[in-house]
Subunit: 211 residues, 2 copies
Amino acid sequence: MTETRAGHEGRGAPAGRRSGPGRRPGSPDTRATILAAARGLFAERGFAGTTVRAVAGDAGVDAALVHHYFGTKADLFVAAMEVRVDPRTAVAPVIEGGVDGAGERLVRVLLSVWDDEESRLPLLTLFRGVGDPHGQRLLRDGLMRMVLGPVGSGLGLDQPDRRMALVASQLFGMVAMRYLLVVEPLASMPAEQLVATYAPIIQHYLDAPLP
Amino acid sequence: MTETRAGHEGRGAPAGRRSGPGRRPGSPDTRATILAAARGLFAERGFAGTTVRAVAGDAGVDAALVHHYFGTKADLFVAAMEVRVDPRTAVAPVIEGGVDGAGERLVRVLLSVWDDEESRLPLLTLFRGVGDPHGQRLLRDGLMRMVLGPVGSGLGLDQPDRRMALVASQLFGMVAMRYLLVVEPLASMPAEQLVATYAPIIQHYLDAPLP
């Protein structure tokens, strides 16, 4: 009860110090424990509100070990946020079907990923970082480029950047209302009704003449 | 140089302690100084990353004085985020013109407020709180209810909640892309081109048959 964890006060602990009394040895289990702690804290407190020290504390390891395995807090965030669904696999059917009906397929794929609780948690955490410069960069360069970039070029759109930015603006807002702000009736609406509502709009952004 | 500000270590400092050596007396100037410090810190670090103590530090006053004037951190946030534009005034012309063309007027009003740097800063800070439960409540109950609720009822829409949630989903996403994530080409696009792009979509959500 009165024992103090080693390194608790030690901001200046040497970075190379990795093993010692009371610290777990490096192992796949330790990595998984750290990642689980990071996911929990990032989800609860967001990127800015989470420290590597707090993650280490929750995982029962020294902060230096977290840095050793995962690098900076931003690196840890990327590792922890690794979504279960590979975005390239998920959007493949959207692209393969061609432009016709691509709007509907895209909305349906997106909702199937977000409606699944296991894939939603890390994505939600990623979206919670939207207020933070790191989180913004991750969202813009990660999700936007990994998911929407390939769709735009895969479908062979004219003005792909402009069209996919419009698509992103609607899908981002839909996700924000349904999952982040939990605005009714969108939050409780059946996925197929949302597909029917948004598919024509996304299709419009994909292939209608733009002003 | 070696002087320590009173109360620096004092988490349990009595709440009523308001004046003393080294603290500024309460005055309109002090309020303004605190609000300016709060705006700066909330904008820089978001809601979760900002403490009342840090705001007090930046303003050069005791944290108890901040609590005395503004209450909790959430109360301070609301006070600091007070937007320059009264949303009721801003949306009045959208409502007065009736449903016809309301989509276009709404997009134009929104962009005129957001493109103005003075009104953008507090709004941006409000949006940065989207990852945080407090910020979410403020966004949902504040902006959504203050701005979009009156439009839905003022225009006499059928299914106003559903239609305004759809409107919100597109406008929120547009704002996120243009001002928060700064996604090109939306970030640099002339406002009138955005109006022409989004007005038909917003109008659709306002008055088209919905699935």
